[in-house]
Each structure stands twice: as structure tokens, then as C-alpha cells.
């Protein structure tokens, strides 16, 4: 089966500009996550969707970040306006239930954002 798709793979913008990232999860996966991975650190959750509803956005900087998953499939993460500290890799993941009733997350290749 196809994996989690993300685009673009790389993006360079100037501070105060806006940027959008796109994610297409694995077919049939109801749960979608966006993580931010700053250089030298592990990924940190930004937002979790279940179908087209938000489950957890407590760590999303809502003054500049927004995300949507309108039809419960693809998702878009937007930053407006960008700051230097937003330079990071943005990872999208989707999850499925295993045969044992547990959940596993599958990650896309990420979008590397550089803010200059």
C-alpha cells in the first residue's frame, strides 16, 4: 500500500511570509498527526485529527499556525507569518489499528522548512 505522502519536500521562505504543507495519509487511516521536529530534537506533536475533527491541538501555536482536514482525508498545515524559530522538519503521520487492537503510526518523509 502507498505510504503517507507529503509535499513539498523542501521549502525556503523569508520571515513573515506564509507557507503551507500538504499531507495525504494512508488510505483508510482515520487519525492524522502533524509533528514538528527541530534540528537536534525529537518530533513534537502539533495537532491530532480524527477524521475531520480536531482531537488535540494544545501544542499548536494558534497565533500563527493553522491546520485543517476538511474531508477527513488530506490535511494542510499553514504558518502565517513565519518566524525564524519555525525552521524545522514537519512530519505527517497517520495511524491504523493492528490486528491486536493497538495502534501504530506511519510517518511521511517530512517537509524541511527553512526560514531566513
Amino acid at each position: 500500500e502507498a505510504g503517507v505522502a507529503q509535499s513539498p519536500r523542501y521549502k525556503i521562505i523569508e520571515k513573515r511570509q506564509s507557507v503551507a504543507f500538504w499531507c495525504n495519509p494512508i488510505s483508510g487511516h482515520a487519525t492524522l498527526y502533524w509533528y514538528q521536529q527541530i534540528l537536534g530534537q525529537g518530533p513534537k506533536l502539533l495537532i491530532q485529527f480524527q477524521n475531520n475533527g480536531v482531537v488535540d491541538d494544545s501544542q499548536l501555536p494558534k497565533d500563527r499556525f493553522s491546520a485543517e482536514r476538511l474531508k477527513g482525508v488530506d490535511s494542510t498545515l499553514k504558518i502565517q507569518p513565519a518566524k525564524l524559530e519555525d525552521s524545522a522538519v514537519y512530519l505527517c503521520a497517520s495511524s491504523s489499528r493492528t490486528t491486536g487492537g493497538k495502534y501504530e503510526q506511519y510517518f511521511g518523509p517530512g517537509t524541511r522548512l527553512t526560514v531566513t
Binding site: V4, G42, L91, A93, S95, R97, Y103, P109, R112
Partner: protein, 113 residues
Amino acid sequence: AQSVTQPDIHITVSEGASLELRCNYSYGATPYLFWYVQSPGQGLQLLLKYFSGDTLVQGIKGFEAEFKRSQSSFNLRKPSVHWSDAAEYFCAASNSGNTPLVFGKGTRLSVIA
């Protein structure tokens, strides 16, 4: 607060030598535990996972991990490292159910000839 700690930022091993990467967690209840590997410019690939039961779990690429409740640890091991194992390794944990992962800061593995 829930947290995952990887004490070693960078480890260098010789090809063919054994490997152990450390991971400790701090959770109210025993979490689900995972090890992921990330090669440069790539996403995260799941190596192995622990939900419950047998405390020694086998993963892909010859990796295994042992869950030790008394030490709140989930260390990753490989008996013989290959040059292609050079990458960043992340330990992660989550509560039961369909919940977000909490990651450690990662351990960068270098392999020398």
C-alpha cells in the same frame, strides 16, 4: 509530565560490534513503547514496538528491545552492527489507545570500519 529520555546524544561503534541504545520513560502507567530510525532526509521508520506481554521484542533489521518495568527502560540492542545502521534513533512512548507519541531527543549512531 510524561517524558522519554535518551541519555546518549551520539554513539560510535565499530562495524560488527554490538550495540545498545538506552531509553527511559516517565509515565503514570506503563505506556506503549516504540523505537524508530531516521536516516538523513528521510521520515521515521518503525523498528519495533512493545504493547504488553513478552518483555523482549524483536523488530526489523535484526534489532531487539527489552522492556524493564523496574527500571522504566526500553533499551534497543543489536548483536552486530552494519555500516548501513548509521542513522538517528528515536525512542517514543504513548498512552494506550490512539494517542500521540512522545519522543526522546534521539541518539545519533555512527559506524566506523
